[in-house]
Structures are given as C-alpha cells and as structure tokens.
Symmetry: C2
Subunit: 495 residues, 2 copies
C-alpha cells in the first residue's frame, strides 16, 4: 500500500491483475464471493473506486483473479442488492453510491439497549426512539427494498419535469395536489386496484399517515369520535388516530379477517382496516366477511381502507379494493412508501363525497398542499411505466427475500409459526412459550438485530410474536438476523 | 409558410436571414423588441424552437434582421424574465421551457367574475377560489419571480444528492427533518438573520403555514387559545390560526409598528407578527416598540415571528430577527417560498424549549416529516452558495420591478399613497374616496388583473386599498396592470 496508485478515472476502470491489488490467496476457501464483495465495498467507501466508475466485466476479473466467474457475479449481485452498484446492460456494472462503511460491525454485547426501548405500552415517539437505536440488521417491517430506489429514473423524470414546468407551477397550487399526479393516480388505481375514480376526486397527501389524520379531522367535525381498529392491528395507526382525537375500540381479526359481528357490537360508526393483506397477520378478508362488512357499511358505516401493500402479492392477483365496490362508504388511502420510498412522503386519499369539503379544508390547514416537484416526478414515473417496472422488480426481489426468511425461520426457529408470508414486505411469527416478546425484541437488539414485538400491535393480551420485515434486507442479513433472534430466544436476558 | 422547413436540432439553431422567416417589415415602428419577443414566444410554444435549443447570438440576429442589437437583447431579456429562455454565458441564450401560449389574451369584458369572488368577509377557501379565477396579469402578493427558479442548479444538486444518498435515507426519517438541511438552515439563519441556533433545534416544516399550525397546536395544549395579530395583518395567517382553534384579537399597526399598549390591553399571552417588513403595510417595527415588545415577552408573553420576507430588503441591511435576542420567548418561522418557490413547501420553525416536545409531536402527527429529496436538494443549494446567488439575483430583479410599479402608480393612480415599498415582494396602495376595495378588486379582475383588497387583511373598517405584488411580473405587465386598475377605479362596476 506504500506506493502511489493511479486514480481511476470516472466512467471506466482498467481491469487487470492489478485491479485494487486483489490477491485471491487472502480469501477464505468457500468464501471468495463474500471476500471480493467486502474488498469492493471498502474500495467504494474510501473512494478508490469513484461513483460513476464501471467495474471490470465479470469474465475479465474472474480470469485475472483466477476464480470462477460465478464468484465475481455473486459479489456484484450482493453489491447491487445493497445499492452500491447497478447493472447498466451493455454499459456493465457501475458504481452508483458510496455509502459510508459502517464503523466496523459492533460487537453484540457492546450495544446498550435502554431498558425502556421496548415497553409493553409504548408512547407515540416510540418509532422515532427505535429508529435511532443502532443496529447492524434492521428487520423493522414496512419498508421496501430501499437500495432498489430507481435513482436514474427519478433524475431523468425530474429533468423532464423541470424542463416543461411553467413558471406559475412554482407558485401556490391546489391543496389537493398537482393535476398531473391526480390524473396519474386515478389511472394507477384503475389499472392496479380496480378503482374507478375521477382525477378531481384524488387528494394528494403526505403519505397514508397524513391521509388518516385528515379523514379523522373530517369525521370529528361530523361527530364521529371512535374508529374501530383491527386486533391485532398497526400500533402506529392506532396511536395516530388517538392523537387526532379518535378512540380505537379493537375488533378481533381471525383467519377469515375482521370479525364483523364484533364490529357491530362496538357500536362504532367507522372502522379502519387493511383488507388486502392485514397488518400484521397477513390475513385476507374472505368473501363472507367482505359481504357482511359491505352490508354494515351500506347501513351507514364508514370503512377506512388502508391499502398499504396491496400491490405486493406473490401468490395471486391482489384482491380488489373495497373502495371499488362501495365508493360512497369507503375512505381509501394509499402511498408510494411501499413502492418507492417512505421518505418521499407522497400518498393519496379518496373520500366519500359528503366528507370531501372537510378533508380538503384539513389538507389546506395542514400544509397548503404537498411539495410539487416530488408529485410531478412521481406522475412522470407512473405515466412512463417506470413505476410498474419498479413494482415488478421489487416483487421478484422481495419474494426471494421472503423465501430466504421463511427458510431461515425453518432452520433456526423450528417452534415458530409463520403467518402472512404470501404478500407484503413482512411476515409475522408467533412463538410458543411465555417469554414476553418485548423482552425478546430487546434481547435481539442487544445483539444488533431490530424487530418489532407483536404485542405492540395488540390492545389485548396476545401470544408472543415478532413482526419481521424482509424486503429491505439481503438474504445474508436475513439469515444472520434470524439466527441472532434464535440465539436471543434461547437466552432472552443478557444483562 | 407553404414549404417544408428543416427542423431545428436540439442544442443549436442555425442563424441567418431565414431564422423563423422573420420579416422586420411586419414590426410596428417603435415596437420591434415586443414584436420579436412575440414571434419567438410563439415559435417556442408551438415547438418550432425546441426546449434546449440555442437562440442565435444577438449580434448575428440583429445583423440578419437589420435591426439594432438592443432590439434583440431586449426581446431576449423579456423572454428571460418570463422564464422561457436562460442566458448560459458563453453557451448563449437557451430555451428552457415552452409554456403553452395563453389562449389569446381574453377580451376584458369577456371575463365573468363571480359576484361572490371578493366578498367583504371571505372564507378559508377564498385563496383557492381567487387562484383559479382566470386573469392575464396576476398581481397577487407573496410570490417571488417564479421564472427565476434556478432549474439547472436544482437539477445539478438533485443529481449530487441522489448519488451520495444511502439506501436507508429513503426510509422513514426524523420527523424534524433531514440532518443536512437542519444544519444548513442553522448556518443560513446565523449568516442572514443573526440567529444562533443548533441544528437540532431546527424543525423542518412544510412552509410557514404548517409551522404556525404546529405551534398553535402546541399552544392549545398549553392552555393558550388566543394569539393577537396585526391590524392590518395577513388574512391567510388569521384564518389559519382560527382554523387551529385560536382566537385572533387585532392590534393596530401604525407607522412605528405594532401598538404594544394595545397588545397588553388584549390580555393575550401570544402575539403573531412580521417585524422585519409588516404584511401588508411594510412598516418596520421601530426601536422603541421593539423594546416594549421584548419587555412584554420577558413578562411571560410569546412572540410568534413570521420572518416571511426579511431577506428582501432594498434600502439597508434587514433588521435582525427578534428570535436572535430572545430565544426562549420567540417562536420563529421562515421558508423558501419567497426565496425559491412556494410550491416546494419547505420551511423551518424554531420554538422555545418548553414547547419543543409538543411541536415535534404535532409534526409527527401531521405527516411524519417533510419529503426528504426537496430537503436535501435545498441543503445542497444552501451550502453550495447557490441560494445566496439566487437571493442576490432576485433582489436586483425585484427592485427593478418595484421601481416599475411605483412609477406606474405615479402615472396612473396619482391619488394613491404607496406604503412599504422599500422591501419585500409587494407594496400597498391606499386610495382616497369611498369605493369599497373589494368592488375595485372585482372590477380589476373583470378587466383581467388580479389583486387583493386591503380590507381582506383588516378585521376593523379600513381605508380602501390594494395589496399589489410586483415580484412575479415583468415591467410591461406591471405597467398594464396598474393602468387597468386605474381604468377600473374610474368605473368600478361594469355590470
């Protein structure tokens, strides 16, 4: 390392036996792909390989190193899944990002987990607290493969948008959103979710979270102060509705979906549910329950449908949205958080006509409308077909990761039961025994693996379980994450 | 026009006497620049000159047409101010946008203005209603020169951001905003507004509007249900506070600023004001009033400082923000709506420590945080110096337009008094006589010119007046707009 090396020029890298001074003799036998990936990762992180540089063709590098081509392609694929490189067809494999190296993987026992991080009854800042806790493997549910974010498509669409935008489009706009995105969402919902809606009915929101808040405000004005929720059901959604002044009576979800008889017994005039892939159980609302729920809504009930990951179905076409059948009885919310990235904070809301004015007023009061550039770029991605391509890519990648997680659970957690693995970005495992799942989650985090306890998503006592996201993690991390959970389960309290 | 013409190739245009088949003999004498600008405008709109194409050098085109070079440069400058072309130094003048041609300027009498569009007591949807009303000249206050939006800088910064972003940055983030922007805002406020603040204290919001809503929610939790406001003072702000459950007792603004004695008499525990350039009068809070206001705040009052256009001062350095003196007694809100574009919906909020947790919770409930890409691009523009360059460019352009408006008022509205023209993006004219300003605004809009009546921004009876934005309009449109208002004033009711 003592001598000066030529800087690689952007756009290409000279292959050859000198490439990064790699010496395959350093590699552990049987671990050559991992070794090569690690060397490349370090070179990207410290700038020896610049962003924009092309890696040597796999055949060339394999010959130079004296390894099989499969070793090189596997290493490149790992870096691709991590978002460090991208395949550009004939242009080869190009470095797209240089994330800083993690500061050497923390030794498990060295990670202090505050005893309060997994309380049985968490407050509304819990997700912020958990998010900032350090972990080397994050199995928090609800995010897609973020490394797959289509950076090049996004930038190309942004360039097109900036070129054609009129100056007046930079001014204050319609609080309900940019016309181009409302039209694109209407088309998207018709094609993908069986919902017929006019663009003018689409209200662009800062994600599903804001959509639910706006609807809750409108319902409060209408005298509604309770929205029944699924049990188990999303803690985040429940907290959010509570914050907007809504009580959230629980209604059991069983293998057929929401118990409509229990819903009727609560007397609530509105219910919030995730019929396409229930969070966290993954149950699909079955035909009989659907019919009973529709009858309840026709009798004057309001269904709030959170269609949060309906597009991510692996076994069959997604079930049509309830909104498509019952537009005047369903408030419908969706977003790109599971299609592209939560950080975009763009979603949409459809509401029955009678709530429309109050919801629009609430949106105006919230922020005068969502930021226009992400809206227009998204509209461009929807109309150009780039978003459908992205969804197909995610589905293929997610299903592989789902398989990896199911297999890892089979190996390491043989006593666990897997639920809801045929769709979505996460699965649920329930566990035998009486270890509180909050203690298990804390023990896993002490070992560097972040998961959510099922009990957080329950208002009543529940079996212990974990909600495990697989979409944002590589197969390697999933394997290690599940093995770590198994180790934590064998010895839940280390301190 | 009967013969086929070669298509211009992107990136360059062949100059020469054939360029667009221009014939200067068509031009009215004395109006050659306007004629040339109009021909270029039409050619850009119908695609004969493509976006990205370079216009002929002014010297070349002037020679070819047989006109002075000044005619060509004036035409190019008009197109530049309209946002259709941009100067690229040695690269020449390039077409950057092809906004559709307005469908031939409407004949004044043909624009129906609903009688209800300028009611004396407008509801919260008034700004949406006025925004969608057609007009050929829009003098609505509160927007900067939108044609100056730095599209190329933005795209360049976005490319840099997308390149270096880690995959995890696309996930759920801190509801208070991206660390990079919070740091950039802290530096910006220190440099430009004399405010010392830690990045961790900065809360990124969707503009000032959301910032005020968040603070209002926090104050409500603290038992505060009234915020005194300036009289006259922004209608939009007052409506917004009312919508968040706040009463808004009025406190007179005179030539020295807010009457602190009146504020004390209201008994309100909080006051919202625009001390650097009062909206809509343009008054600067003077030294004596500042001292009395500070004493009131130290006695337990909360100042809510909307620093909405402090950077746009033409006569002297801006007055320092109150926040800089009194951090524990001032909530401070700012945004890029007046620096770049309202459509970005990005702003910032600083609050006293005791309100911080409640404001952060309100932000989380609002939207889980502002969209991350616009935040990071903005941070890049702030740290690279591009935003300061933009501000200097805007100041130069705005001051010319301010001068054009003051001159036009002198010519066409000799009886009017101009207020607050030494800073900002708008000025106020008050008028003699007893024509209600709402009727005048309606009559102006019938003639195609959009303005805001002063009485909207008053809770008590006021002299008639108009709030006139100049920043987003060319000198030509400003001249025509003021002449049209004068015509409307002579005959306020046409129907």
């Amino acid at each position: 390392m003592g001598r000066a090396k030529p800087q690689p020029s952007e756009g290409s890298i000279t292959a050859g036996s000198d490439f990064l001074h790699l010496d395959v003799a350093e590699a552990p036998s049987g671990g050559r792909a991992a070794w090569l990936a690690e060397r490349l990762r370090a070179a990207i992180a410290d700038g020896r390989i610049a962003v924009g540089a092309r890696l040597p063709a796999s055949r060339v590098l394999a010959t130079d190193l004296g390894v099989s081509r499969g070793v090189v392609t596997e290493a490149y694929q790992r870096l691709g899944e991590e978002g460090r490189v991208a395949g550009h067809g004939r242009a080869g494999t190009v470095v797209v990002a240089a994330p800083p190296l993690p500061p050497a993987r923390p030794v498990p026992a060295a990670v202090p987990v505050p005893a309060t991080l997994f309380p049985p009854d968490p407050g509304s800042d819990i997700f912020d607290a958990v998010r900032t806790a350090p972990a080397r493997i994050d199995l928090t549910p609800g995010v897609p493969d973020l490394a797959a974010f289509p950076r090049a498509d996004w930038l190309r669409a942004e360039r097109a948008v900036l070129r054609r935008l009129a100056a007046s489009d930079f001014g204050y706009g319609d609080p309900c959103g940019a016309p181009a995105l409302r039209a694109a969402v209407a088309t998207w919902l018709a094609r993908n979710r069986g919902i017929a809606v006019e663009p003018a009915e689409v209200i662009v929101t800062a994600g599903v979270s804001q959509a639910l808040g706006l609807l809750a405000q409108a319902l409060r004005r209408d005298g509604v102060d309770r929205i029944a929720v699924e049990e188990p059901g999303s803690l985040g959604v429940r907290q959010h509705l509570n914050n907007w002044g809504m009580a959230t009576p629980p209604v059991t979800v069983d293998a057929a979906g929401l118990r409509v008889d229990e819903l009727i017994a609560t007397g609530a005039r509105a219910v919030m549910l995730t019929p396409a892939h229930q969070f966290p159980t993954g149950v699909v609302l079955d035909g009989e329950r659907r019919r009973r729920l529709i009858a309840w809504a026709r009798d004057g009930g309001l269904i709030v449908e959170d269609d949060y990951d309906a597009e991510h179905r692996y076994d069959r076409p997604p079930v049509p949205a309830l909104r498509g059948l019952l537009p005047e009885h369903v408030g419908y919310a969706g977003s790109v958080s599971k299609l592209l990235a939560p950080a975009l904070r763009v979603g949409w809301l459809l509401v029955p006509a009678r709530h429309r004015d109050a919801v629009v007023a609430a949106k105006r009061n919230a922020d005068l409308g969502t930021s226009v550039l992400p809206q227009l770029v998204l509209a461009e991605l929807m109309t150009s077909g780039a978003l459908e391509r992205q969804l197909r890519l995610l589905r293929r990648r997610h299903v592989r990761r789902r398989d990896a997680m199911v297999a890892a659970i089979g190996r390491h957690l043989p006593g666990a039961t897997v639920h809801g693995a045929s769709a979505g970005l996460h699965l649920l495992v329930t566990l035998d025994g009486d270890v509180p799942d909050t203690a298990l989650a804390a023990a896993a985090l002490e070992r560097g693996v972040k998961v959510q306890p099922l009990s957080w998503h329950c208002q009543r006592a529940s079996r212990p379980g974990l909600v495990l996201g697989y979409a944002a993690n590589t197969a390697t991390d999933i394997e290690e994450g599940i093995a770590t959970i198994a180790a934590a389960l064998r010895r839940p309290r280390t301190s």
